[in-house]
Each structure stands twice: as C-alpha cells, then as structure tokens.
C-alpha cells in the first residue's frame, strides 16, 4: 500500500508514482493559531477495503481532515472500446457486459438497442417485456450488493450477509434463464438468446413479496439506526447543479432531487408501458443516496410485478441477416443502468464491426465528482461518501 517511508529530505517533486512510491510532506505555517502542522500524504488504495476494487484516492491529510483528494483511475483499464472495434456486434454483447460486472444485462441491452435503432429492427413484444423484466431483476441484484457493502463500510457487519442471501435467490432466477451468474450474455440484436425457462415467471412472482419484505428489514436495520443516521446525514452533500455539471447520474443524482431517468424521459424496451417510479431525495447527502437506493429496489419490484402481469406470448427473436451490419452513421443510445446513465455512442461505417463505440459509463462521471465532495471532509466521512457514490471500478476504467 502506501506507507513506504520517504527518503529524508524528499521534497516531493518528480513524477507521481505508483502506489507507495512517494510520500510528500508539505510543511506550511498555518496563519491562524501559529502552529506548524505537517500534511500527511496518504494513498487510499489501489487496494483498500473501502474502494472495493482498484480505485486509488490520493489524499493530503491535515490530521483526519482531507485537504486535497485526487482519485487515480485506470488500474483496470481493459481497452473495451478498442476491442469493440475488432469484434462483430454479436461478440460485442459479450464484451460490454463486463465493464460493470454487477449489471451485466442492463449493459447488454444498450448495445443491442443501438444496433437495433440503426438497423430499424422491430423487436418482438415478448422479447421487450423479458428485457424489461430481466433489467429490473438485474438492477435489484446490483442495488442489493451496494446495500450490503455500504453497511459493511460503515462497520455494520450483518447487512452484507442478508443482502447476499437475497441476491443469491435472484441469482438463481437469472441463472435459470441465462445460464450465467455474472456475465449473462442473454441479449441479442433483435431480441434474446432464448425464451424464459418454464417456471421462471412463477418463481419471479413468488420472489417479489419476499424481497419487498426484506428491503423493509434493511430500512429498519440501517435507515432507522441512530448511528447510521449520525454517520450519513449531512455528510457529502451534493447540490443538484454540481451533480449535473459533472454528469453525475443514477442514485447519486436522484438524491439531489433531480428525477432524471432514461426509463421515464426516453423509455426503451417496455418502460413506456409500465409505471416507473423514480425515488428522489432532497439534500443529496449520503443518507439520501442510500435511501434512494433502497427505494429504487422497491420501485424495481413494482416494475417486475407489472412485467409479470403483462407478459405476452410470442417469439423472442427476429430473423436476422447472416451478417449483422449497422448502416453508416452514428447513434447515441442511453439507458438507465443501475449505477446511473449508461450511454453507447455507436459510429458505424456500414460494416459488421463498429467504427467507434464509445461507452459512456455512469461510474466514470460519478467518480470524477469525488474531489468536490471529499475536500474538507474527515477521513471517516470519506468512507461514508465513497460507499454512497455507488461505483464499480470496471465501470470507471472500462
């Protein structure tokens, strides 16, 4: 990690290095009080329990107060955008569900939508309903993960075990349909790989009230806890205009009171035919972000229930030409991924490979806002902030 001692007299110049390469001590006189204090340079990460992944935050600490914070990313950069230029659209679907490994299905659907828009394909009704249904299940799975990890970061050990218990039940559902646990690769251009297995809808229907009840348990366990409230309310307040300026989206944006959700404003799949509730907060602090996250699970459960009610029968796929080729041009498709707005800017030269596929990932923009929230905060508050600006490192670095 980061605690290699600096050679004596190191002024801190030179290139910034890898983890633990340089420790810079800044000595300056505080005007007020006349005490000479030294700022401590601390690397949180790239491997640190609070960053769940390889995010690195370089901090200058004055005591436990953060004077300067700088997220350093790229430790998981896998060049998906370059790889996508060397894959056909079928293969890209298997590629793009990997950057945000917690919301694979929601990512897949974006690329499929982009190609379908360009090809002007009509996707069968049933396929669209199933996409909506699986998207929401996937969203719940994603949110449960962060419910657990946020509790864990604040020192509550138990919610993470409960969250994984619930996740596992949804995981079984997704597995029965797609065969995958993490990277479902179930979406296809023009529809889906397969129809749902027998019993899937019934099992979904049974699971909805169970999860709903347990989300209520989380509310009681965490939101109702005085220590939790003391740790999160008023911490990391994000004003709406700053959030928009940075392109922050998802729960972090909704917590500021802006109910911008692609499922409502530009519905894709079957979101136009269901009632999508977008929970919002007021102050944009960590508490609101977490409350919005929990409420989003409830809202997603509502959508799941509506999908189950409206599920039509019919084919789940269209006959595609042997080679899927998007016509020349460019299109931007945005979807509401669990972590925020996912966008796919597809530039095609009419071949079976994209000329350029830009993946706009929510975590990237959300994390770029971090210095704004962190500077001036206490170190323990950093954890409450990092945990509530929900991010996946793969989603930042792609």
């Amino acid at each position: 990690m980061s605690e290699t001692r600096a050679p004596q007299g190191d002024g801190g110049g030179g290139m910034p290095g890898g983890p633990g390469e340089s420790m810079r001590l800044e000595v300056r006189d505080e005007e007020q009080g006349g005490l000479q204090t030294q700022e401590m340079n601390l690397n949180i990460g790239p491997q640190h329990p609070a960053t769940h992944g390889v995010l690195r935050v370089v901090l200058d600490l004055d005591g436990e107060r953060i004077a300067r914070a700088e997220p350093v990313i790229g430790y998981m950069h896998r060049g998906f955008e370059k790889l996508a230029e060397h894959r056909d659209y079928r293969q890209i679907i298997a590629l793009v569900n990997r950057h945000d490994w917690l919301s694979a299905f929601c990512n897949e659907i974006g690329v499929a939508l982009a190609v379908e828009t360009m090809m002007e394909l009509e996707v069968p009704e049933r396929a669209q309903w199933i996409r909506t249904l699986l998207c929401e299940w996937n969203r719940i799975m994603n949110h449960l993960m962060f419910v657990g990890s946020f509790g864990l970061e604040l020192g509550a050990l138990t919610p993470v075990f409960y969250a994984f218990r619930e996740r596992e039940e949804i995981q079984h559902l997704m597995e029965s349909a797609t065969g995958g646990r993490l990277h479902f690769t179930f979406c296809r251009v023009g529809g889906l790989k397969d129809d749902l297995p027998l019993g899937f809808l019934k099992a979904s229907e049974q699971l909805v009230p169970v999860i709903r009840q347990r989300v209520q348990d989380y509310r009681d366990l965490l939101l109702g806890n005085e220590i939790f409230q003391a740790r999160t309310s008023g911490v990391g307040k994000l004003p709406a205009e700053v959030a928009l300026d940075y392109g922050v989206s998802g729960p972090a944006l909704h917590a500021t009171g802006v109910a911008e959700d692609a499922r409502v404003t530009e519905p894709y799949a079957k979101y136009a035919d269901v009632d999508v509730r977008v929970p919002t907060g007021e102050t944009g602090d960590s508490y609101d972000r977490f409350r919005v996250l929990l409420d989003r699970i409830d809202a997603s459960l509502d959508i799941v229930a509506q999908c189950l009610d409206n599920m039509p029968s019919g084919p789940v796929n269209v006959k595609l030409p042997k080679q899927v080729k998007a016509p020349e041009g460019a299109v931007y498709v945005r979807t509401e991924n669990p972590l925020g707005q996912g966008g796919y800017y597809l530039v095609s030269d009419g071949k079976k490979y994209p000329w350029r596929l830009k993946m706009r990932t929510p975590s990237f923009s959300n994390i770029s806002m971090l210095p704004y929230l962190l500077e001036g905060e206490l170190l323990p508050n950093m954890i409450a902030i990092l945990g509530s600006v929900y991010f996946v490192v793969g989603d930042i670095d792609r």
């Binding site: 009080g33 030294q38 401590m40 370089v58 005591g63 700088e70 704004y372 001036g376």
Partner: protein, 203 residues
C-alpha cells in the same frame, strides 16, 4: 538479603537506569517509553513502602494518562514516523545540574532523617481516606478547586487559539485550494467547492 529488600533494590536499579535512558535517548518516543519504566519502578517502590493506594494511583495517573498524553502529543505533532535525532547543546550543563540537585536532596534527606528507623506498615485506602477527609479536608478541597480553575482556564486558552469550533476551521484549505487553481470563469459558483480543473501533474 531478604526477598523484600531484593525487590526494592531491583526497583531502584531498574528505575534509575530507565531514568538515565529517558534523558539520554535520542528518540523522543523511546524516551517516553523509558519514562514508563521509570514511573512503574517508582510505583513498585511505593508498593514496597506500604503505600498501596499511592502506587496504583501512580500507575493510573502517570502511566495510564500522562504518558499516553505525551505519546499522543508526540505522534500528533511529529506525524512523520521514524527515528528523530534529538539535539541538545546543553547536555553537559544539564548533567551537572542534575548531579548537583541529586547530591543536595540526598544530603538534606540524610541530614534530616539520617539514622532514624521507620517502621514499615501498610497504609490502607481506608486510613488514607480518613486522614485526607478528616484531618486535611480543607486543603484538599482548596486544591481541588484550584485544579478545576486551572482546567477551565486551560480550556478557555486552548479554544481561543484554535478558533471557536471544536475542530479546526477548514478555512485555510479552501484559501489554498483557491490560490492553487483559478476558478472557472462561468461554471456555477459553489462556495468552497473545488474547481473542475486542477494541476494533477503536481501531486
């Protein structure tokens, strides 16, 4: 030599050696840790002399609180961890003064009590309390009052120096941040917030 005398002797030797190391150690944290040993040795001598309550009070107050505060202060103000050489130009002078003082006190003690035999008996907490609260009640209360006043005075002084809040004012950071990077010309101004652009190459 009987066991109790051996005990006393070892306490004195250990305490004396530790005291010497306190003043000769080149590392302040080491010095503080040797001070722990010295103070515990003193507590042991108290124990041998029958002042049981005093001995544990010594441990509770000096080891448990004073030394912890010293270490706390050292670590807080000398954040860069590691050995620090202590420079002091007056080592010789200090040694002379210390030896002279020791000689003076020893001489006075010998002159006052030399040859007297003291009967060692354990002073229980009960006896101590009786003496303190019956015989010396007034001075005890006055002393307590004095300590309270000084405590409050220290609090007042400390607060004035730090600003009003219990935590240092975050002002300087913002000023420095503002000086380091010019604010964007027309981004929505947020007081105290960092600006989008910053010199990253300098970290």
């Amino acid at each position: 030599m009987a066991a109790p005398e051996l005990f006393m002797l070892s306490a004195l030797v250990v305490g004396g050696a530790a005291s010497l190391l306190v003043v000769t150690a080149r590392n302040v944290v080491h010095a503080a840790l040797f001070l722990v040993v010295a103070l515990v040795s003193v507590a042991a001598s108290f124990l041998w002399l029958g002042a049981e309550f005093l001995a544990w009070a010594q441990v509770l107050v000096y080891v448990g609180a004073v030394i912890v505060l010293i270490l706390f202060g050292l670590m807080l103000t000398r954040a860069p961890i590691g050995p620090m050489a202590q420079h002091n130009e007056n080592r010789k002078l200090a040694a002379i003064v210390a030896v002279a003082l020791f000689a003076l006190l020893t001489g006075l003690n010998v002159a006052s009590f030399g040859g007297e035999t003291i009967e060692l008996r354990t002073t229980g907490a009960g006896q101590l309390g009786e003496v303190l609260y019956l015989q010396w009640a007034f001075p005890f209360v006055v002393l307590g009052f004095l300590l309270t006043v000084s405590l409050i005075g220290a609090l007042v002084l400390a607060r004035r120096e730090e600003g009003e809040g219990p935590l240092p004012d975050p002002g300087p950071h913002e000023e420095i941040a503002a000086a380091r990077e010019p604010a964007p010309t027309d981004a929505t101004p947020i007081p105290g917030g960092p600006t989008p652009g910053r010199e990253i190459g300098s970290r």
